[in-house]
């Protein structure tokens, strides 16, 4: 009897110490979780998540101070990817942060543009080309669709357009799920 009382805690302690050592010595090299979260975010820097950019939002998720479902540009797919990474339940997109919209790019109406550079200063990724009193134009390949350039424009000459995807970029539907599920 005393042997059992003695040996079980001893065994437990030995296993615990072993696991602790393994957790340190045999730890797999991975990117810090913040970087991995940041890589899954769409980098629009739009602020719809109520943080000042994608990186602060990633840091907040890692610290447990923000939910997964605050990013409208990432959409449902982004929430699922974050949920997969963090092992949490995916939640539906929080409507307070915005609605999921198809990816759009900003287009400046060149006939109306007055060359005030307010949109250039607003764009977080420097996707607008132009200078004072010169024509402004949006570089479509670099526009993330964050819409931060729309409010500052004094003549409201910027619109968001949804581009037609090229043939090899069309999303095809997946096969229907089976009776037994995945």
């Amino acid at each position: 009897m005393s042997f059992a009382i003695f040996s079980i805690p001893l065994l437990g302690t030995a296993c615990g110490l072993g696991l602790g050592w393994a957790a340190r010595r045999l730890r797999a090299e991975t990117d810090p979780i913040v970087n991995r979260i940041d890589r899954l975010l769409p980098q629009t820097q739009c602020g719809q998540c109520n943080f000042t950019g994608c990186r602060p939002y990633a840091e907040a998720i890692a610290a447990g101070q923000a939910e997964l479902n605050q990013c409208p540009p990432g959409g449902e797919a982004g929430i699922r990817a974050l949920a997969n990474l963090l092992g949490r339940e995916p939640l539906p997109l929080n409507p307070e942060n915005g609605l999921e919209k198809p990816a759009a790019v900003a287009v400046i109406d060149e006939l109306a543009c007055i060359g005030c550079t307010l949109c250039i200063e607003a764009c977080p990724v420097d996707a607008i080309l132009g200078a004072t009193k010169q024509m402004h134009t949006v570089i479509a390949a670099e526009c993330t669709g964050c819409e931060l350039c729309l409010p500052p424009c004094p003549v409201d000459c910027i619109v968001m357009e949804v581009p037609q995807p090229a043939m090899d970029r069309r999303r095809r539907p997946g096969p229907a799920l089976a009776a037994g599920g995945p």
Binding site: Q45, C54, N84, R169, P175, A178, A179, G180, P182
Partner: protein, 508 residues
């Protein structure tokens, strides 16, 4: 590429090896091969899609109302080494419009609609007289201008393939006559009836890539083809062409599998056959090259097998590109009573078509009309029981059940690591799955999703870089400004204070 691998590859065809997996399927080719090749009559309208293969559409070169001759270019691809699309017969262009084209997803594409004038007049044909002694680059240019693409099904632009191959030292040209998919016999008929053209094409391609030897590979169930080719080879009096008979097993006609059977080597991931000194072309492609070089005729027609229990008299037909499929079926006696589904391609890799008005494209090797008794009732999909049959038959040595599970659960990166990109979509795993899981559909879906995901990631990485660069730039501006301000402050401190009134500019 390791020299040892290249050396081993030189012994291609000396003995035969095996590839992993594969299936022995009943080939159903008897009926079609017993009837001679027949040309289909020119239909009242031809619909020539400007999208014949992967990549962007060709730009039209003609306008509505233009009169064109047979073989005149009607579309040009932006990328120079891809080439052109030609008018299959002489006539008038009545429309250039978007309509449903022959495509797995049933997409719409730009089509040149041609009304034949019945004269079937060729353009001024300009054969290359002495191709044996011209610069190989001229041969490649002729292939490009003739719009020749791989006619085995993949329709990769042949001139681009030749151009890339010439960057490596090719020692063996392999002509792929191993038509392994059941029902399809267009290559077999071509080799049977026009073996001289195939051998001529082989020699021309050999000159174009400066190969040392040629191997023509056929399956051992293609009886008379072997003797026909042998006669043609001895007539051409060339010693460096070898005929090799392969065991009939699906999917031996796949390029990677063919090379593995002939050389025992696997193409390393990320490499192409030319790096091993090998180049594969389909026999029909070779025949098209022969026509283009020695007769000056661009690619305007191809052999199409029309078969299945849903047509009355299955046979192989010579059809113009752009002929509506219904015309081909009519030339075979029409549909039977229980014809149920129209498939472009074979039973393993083909895709269903919504309409028989779709035109023949360069990739159309077979029209398979299935009857209602051929189509298995939609067997309900059951969960995967991890039996491992799919892995047993996979020629690419993948684990389809793992890929299936990963794609369904959005683990596309893991699927890619597990080899999703190596899948050749042959359909062997689908065929053996006891739970009737549509594996190839899931893999195609997974591949496209992964591709889109990679594009999105590249975009967001670019956005992040630009954002960080902008932040750095603004930070730099701020620091510069602060530095200037502090320098100016220092400069002001050194200046002596001046009493008011002494400079003569005091308050007036």
């Amino acid at each position: 590429m390791q020299d040892s691998a290249v050396e081993l590859a030189r012994n291609a065809g000396q003995r035969l090896f095996h590839f992993h997996g594969g299936l022995h399927l009943r080939h159903h080719k008897q009926a079609c091969c017993q009837v001679a090749l027949q040309a289909v009559a020119i239909p009242p309208r031809l619909y020539i899609p400007l999208m014949q293969h992967a990549g962007p559409e060709a730009t039209p070169l003609v306008t509505i109302g233009a009169h064109v001759l047979k073989g005149e270019p009607v579309g040009r691809f932006d990328e120079p080494s891809i080439g052109y699309v030609h008018a299959p017969t002489s006539g008038t262009v009545t429309a250039i419009a978007r309509q449903a084209i022959t495509h797995p997803a049933g997409l719409e594409g730009l089509c040149v609609v041609l009304k034949p004038d019945g004269l079937d007049r060729w353009i001024q044909l300009q054969p290359i007289e002495h191709w044996q002694s011209v610069d190989p680059e001229l041969i490649r240019q002729r292939i490009c201008e003739s719009g020749i693409v791989g006619l085995g099904g993949a329709v990769f632009p042949t001139s681009k393939k030749v151009e890339e191959a010439r960057k490596s030292a090719i020692h063996t040209l392999i002509l792929n006559g191993a038509e392994c998919e059941p029902y399809i016999s267009c290559d077999e008929m071509l080799m049977r009836e026009q073996p001289d053209k195939v051998v001529l094409g082989a020699l021309i391609l050999q000159r174009a890539v400066a190969a040392e030897q040629v191997i023509i590979a056929i399956e051992d169930q293609m009886g008379e083809v072997f003797s026909a080719l042998q006669t043609a080879v001895s007539k051409a009096e060339c010693t460096h062409i070898r005929l090799v008979k392969l065991r009939t097993i699906y999917p031996e006609g796949g390029e990677k599998q063919l090379i593995q059977v002939l050389t025992g080597l696997e193409i390393p991931a990320g490499c192409r056959p030319p790096e091993l000194g090998l180049l594969c072309h389909n026999v029909a492609t070779a025949a098209a090259v022969a026509e283009a070089v020695t007769e000056g005729k661009p690619l305007v027609q191809r052999v199409v097998t029309v078969t299945g229990n849903g047509v009355k008299r299955p046979r192989n037909l010579l059809a113009l590109i752009g002929t509506p499929i219904s015309n081909l079926v009519d030339a075979c006696g029409g549909y039977t009573q229980d014809a149920a589904r129209l498939v472009l391609g074979g039973p393993m890799m083909g895709y269903a078509l919504a309409s028989d008005q779709n035109p023949v494209i360069k990739a159309a090797n077979c029209i398979l009309v299935l009857s209602s008794r051929d189509i298995q009732p939609d067997q309900a999909e059951m969960p995967c029981i991890r039996c491992g049959e799919c892995a047993r038959v996979c020629p690419a040595l993948l684990l389809p059940q793992t890929l299936n599970w990963q794609i369904r659960n959005d683990l596309l990166d893991d699927a890619s690591d597990s080899g999703l990109g190596e899948c050749i979509e042959c359909g062997c795993c689908d065929y053996v799955c006891p739970s009737h899981i549509p594996l190839v559909e899931w893999f195609r879906f997974g591949k496209s999703e992964h591709h889109l995901l990679a594009l999105e990631r590249a975009r967001s990485d670019l956005a992040r870089d630009r954002f960080l660069a902008r932040e750095a730039r603004l930070e730099q501006l701020k620091q510069d400004r602060e530095r200037r301000l502090s320098e100016k402050k220092h400069a002001l401190q050194d200046r002596p204070t001046v009493e008011s009134g002494t400079t003569g500019q005091g308050p007036a």
